[in-house]
């Protein structure tokens, strides 16, 4: 176990290193650099080239990467090429909104999807099953931004019940700001997750042990909660891990539409302004978070089903 954890940790560090190089090279391949992005027809080409020298962007790619990497190893994420402020501050100021948004979405998605999945699974091919399936499938087929625009049009602009954007608002002062963004993010995730729970429920209901339990007269409620649900949850839990990707894509769109100053917004801004240290820093934080989650999941699996091979 200890060796396994050690090996995984080493692998994680290697993964982070490779990722850093990739992000650095890919950002460098984009047309223009941070000095150019200041070229908004207000700085003359001469001013831009002096700015480039000042930012150190005239140095070769490799030496810039080595400088950056050396700083990171010492725990310093560097400074933004655009604002001149520490990257850590940008990470800190943007991570909160995204975290709250994601957690709030999960807090709604998980119970909702499990409930819907069980309702559908226990009524396989019934009228209710088909109705819920149609609605969730339809919702997941509509792109996030369309749902967002429609929700804003109806609930903010027409009815005036909910704020249309986060502009000038603060989450602490008005938690109601979360309602529409979370509603948008629900669409696809609820569908994916509830489909898995439904499938798991159906499989479990047809399993011999359940059939036997039913034959023995175990009450329906107890049967569902004690015997069916734990087994039905397995594919759902696996799906939940994958939901992260879907959610991240959705967060990007949602942050844009509702003007939420979150992680995705900061990342997009960083890429657009070729602010390499900011892009690197944000990616690194994101990657570390993803690796830690995976590592935790892998270690848990390894604990439950001890394997000898690493990363099969």
């Amino acid at each position: 176990m200890r060796t396994y954890a050690g090996q995984r940790a080493v692998l994680a560090v290697v993964q982070l290193g490779v990722l850093s190089v990739l992000v650095f090279v890919l950002t460098a391949l984009l047309p223009g650099d941070a000095a150019d992005m200041r070229f908004t027809e207000t700085l003359t080409p001469d001013q831009v080239s002096r700015l480039r020298a000042e930012l150190g962007l005239d140095q070769p790619l490799v030496s810039r990467f080595v400088d950056w990497f050396g700083d990171v190893v010492r725990g310093d994420l560097g400074t933004s090429l655009i604002s001149g402020g520490p990257v850590v501050d940008i990470v800190k100021s943007s991570v909160g909104a995204t975290l709250v948004l994601t957690l709030a979405t999960l807090a709604v998605v998980v119970p909702l999807a499990v409930a819907l999945g069980i309702v559908m699974g226990t009524r396989e091919n019934g009228r209710l099953d088909r109705a819920i399936t149609s609605v969730t499938l339809a919702l997941s087929a509509i792109p996030d931004f369309v749902i967002a625009v429609l929700l804003v049009a109806v609930f903010s602009l027409k009815l005036g019940w909910l704020p249309a954007t986060w502009i000038g608002g603060s989450l602490l002062a008005s938690p109601v700001l979360l309602v529409l963004p979370v509603a948008v993010l629900l669409g696809r995730t609820v569908c994916l997750l509830s489909r898995q729970v439904r499938a798991g429920t159906i499989t479990a209901l047809h399993a011999e042990y359940v059939v036997q339990a039913r034959r023995l007269g175990v009450p329906r409620r107890r049967l569902l909660l004690r015997h069916v649900l734990p087994n039905a949850a397995v594919p759902g839990v696996q799906e939940l891990a994958r939901t992260g990707d879907t959610l991240l894509g959705g967060v990007l769109v949602v942050e844009a539409i509702f003007a939420i100053p979150g992680f995705a917004t900061a990342l997009v801004d960083g890429v657009e302004t070729r602010d390499v240290p900011v892009v690197q820093g944000l990616t690194l934080v994101l990657a570390v978070a993803a690796l830690l989650l995976n590592l935790a999941a892998d270690l848990l699996c390894n604990r439950l089903v001890p394997r000898t091979e690493l990363l099969r």
């Binding site: 908004t40 700085l43 005036g160 249309a164 657009e272």
Partner: protein, 510 residues
């Protein structure tokens, strides 16, 4: 200036079309006659993320300019016709040759209670010129200012000396990034200006909050609290319609159409305030041939471009920058479409059935659309224009060196400044490669003329040459659109970058 705006342009379009069905929610549209005091105004501009700055000498985005205008002031500002008007400088005079200028300062106080003095002016100009900080934007426009020979005459008179005579000098002091800061000003995160609002807080890419400054020299503001916020196009539209903001800057024609059908939002349109043009490089084939340039100008169906690309929110252009501004030659006839004549010119140039590449990019609203539509118009004369898209973020820079024809858009600025930036041999943004020794000399001579009438006549001549021989094909003059809540009064329909644009000290809430 609008990259942040374009990135999610598709979302904006989607938003606007969804809004089309939603009109007529509440509120009475019409104005309350008597100005009222108090209240909070939230103004939303296109955001720039981490690019946004508090340093007034580093500004380049509209949102920064708005923030700095609330807290700081310049010596001179530009009127609606882009003519200089005094602000912190009450009046000015020159030595008869326009080389040595004396500015008399107004009795104004900074937010920290200090009186404005000529030392503050000299310090501000020296700060702008600091070669160690290349991003101080006004460095190049004020390059002819000789600070070593400039001096204070008394506490409220300052003498500025130029290395070459320039009758347009006051207008240069009204350019972007020319704000007057306090002598010894070091920390831009603690703004101290003379403007109508006192700084409270700032978060780049999000917001600035400022409160009314009661000792403001030009009548204290009517509103109590000003929030200047950042958001993309569609979020601005939603915010102003949903009551989360009272003022939304730089809106699209599509939004204006849907919004004006309702009653919650009013559109304030500054007519024909900016310019959309195609730019041809006069030193590269086929546009090194003046006949080809003229043929392209004659092939343009300007009205159709305005109707389609600008959704009718604008006027047709006449191949010149600055219609309605000081020094614009008003007597020129409008250039009309003439496919027959264009064809003759193209045949003479041997260009019929040839293919030319048009370098465009989604760098500004309407670029790609106008290029595509123009290609259809040119095709009528048998010339193939192949529209090639480039990188949106680096387009302005790329076009300076690449391609033979492309898109160009310019905001409001005085005509002499436009020429200095773009049409002289040494101009930093000479995208048409218009380099004529005779034109340079004529322009320099005009700038030395201290008589406004004579100067205007000389500028007029130069612009006539440009219109007929130059590489700028100005097809449209878009309106500049601002959306305000029905309660907001006192917003002026003036071009951006002028004194009364974003004048939140003159606005009140009914």
């Amino acid at each position: 200036m609008s990259d942040a705006l374009n990135r999610r342009g598709f979302l904006g379009l989607a938003g606007a079309s969804a809004l089309a069905g939603l009109t007529g929610c509440g509120a009475d549209g019409e104005a309350a006659a008597q100005p009222k005091n108090g209240g909070r105004l939230r103004a939303v501009y296109a955001g720039g993320g981490a690019k946004e700055v508090l340093d007034p000498h580093v500004q380049s985005l509209f949102v920064d300019i708005a923030r700095h205008k609330a807290t700081y002031e310049k010596l001179v500002e530009l009127g609606p016709d882009l003519k200089p008007v005094g602000r912190l400088a009450e009046k000015w005079e020159h030595d008869g040759e326009a080389t040595t200028w004396r500015f008399s300062l107004r009795d104004a106080t900074f937010h920290d209670g200090g009186k404005l003095t000529s030392e503050d002016v000299l310090y501000s100009l020296a700060r702008i010129a600091d070669p160690a900080v290349p991003e101080r934007v006004a460095q190049s426009s004020l390059a002819t200012l000789d600070l070593r020979r400039s001096r204070t005459v008394d506490a409220r008179t300052v003498e500025l000396v130029l290395t070459a005579p320039n009758a347009e000098f006051p207008a240069l002091l009204a350019g972007i990034g020319t704000q007057i800061v306090r002598d010894g000003f070091k920390d831009p995160t603690k703004p101290v200006g003379t403007g109508p609002f006192r700084f409270v807080s700032f978060e780049a890419g999000r917001s600035m909050i400022a409160n009314r400054y009661d000792d403001y020299w030009d009548e204290p503001a009517r509103i109590e609290e000003l929030h200047i916020l950042s958001a993309d196009s569609e979020a601005r539209a939603n915010a102003v319609q949903g009551g989360q903001a009272e003022y939304a800057n730089d809106m699209t024609a599509t939004f204006a159409r849907t919004a004006s059908a309702g009653r919650t939002v009013r559109i304030v349109a500054a007519k024909a305030s900016t310019m959309q043009a195609f730019v041809m490089k006069v030193d590269r084939p086929p546009f090194d041939n003046p006949d080809v340039r003229m043929a392209f100008k004659l092939l343009t169906d300007r009205q159709r471009l305005v109707d389609v690309v600008l959704a009718g929110r604008g006027e047709v252009g006449n191949d010149l920058f600055g219609k309605g501004y000081q020094y614009y030659p008003a007597d020129l006839a409008q250039r009309e479409r003439n496919v027959g004549e264009a064809k003759d010119l193209l045949r003479k140039a041997g260009l019929l059935n040839k293919e030319i590449e048009f370098l465009t990019a989604d760098a500004s609203a309407g670029f790609v659309e106008s290029a595509t539509l123009f290609a259809e118009q040119v095709a009528e004369a048998g010339v193939k224009l192949k529209v090639v898209p480039g990188s949106a973020q680096t387009y302005a820079k790329d076009l300076l060196t690449n391609g033979v024809i492309g898109n160009h858009r310019s905001g409001a600025m005085p005509i002499p400044q436009y020429v200095t930036d773009r049409l002289l041999t040494k101009s930093p943004f000479n995208v048409t490669h218009w380099r004529r020794a005779g034109f340079d000399a004529g322009f320099a001579a005009a700038q030395r003329l201290t008589d406004e009438g004579a100067r205007s006549a000389k500028y007029g001549e130069l612009q006539g040459t440009l219109r007929d021989e130059g590489g700028i094909l100005a097809w449209g003059l878009p309106d500049y659109l601002v959306a305000v809540s029905a309660t907001v009064q006192g917003v002026q329909a003036v071009p951006p970058n002028t004194l009364d644009s974003g004048r939140f000290d003159k606005v009140w809430l009914a």
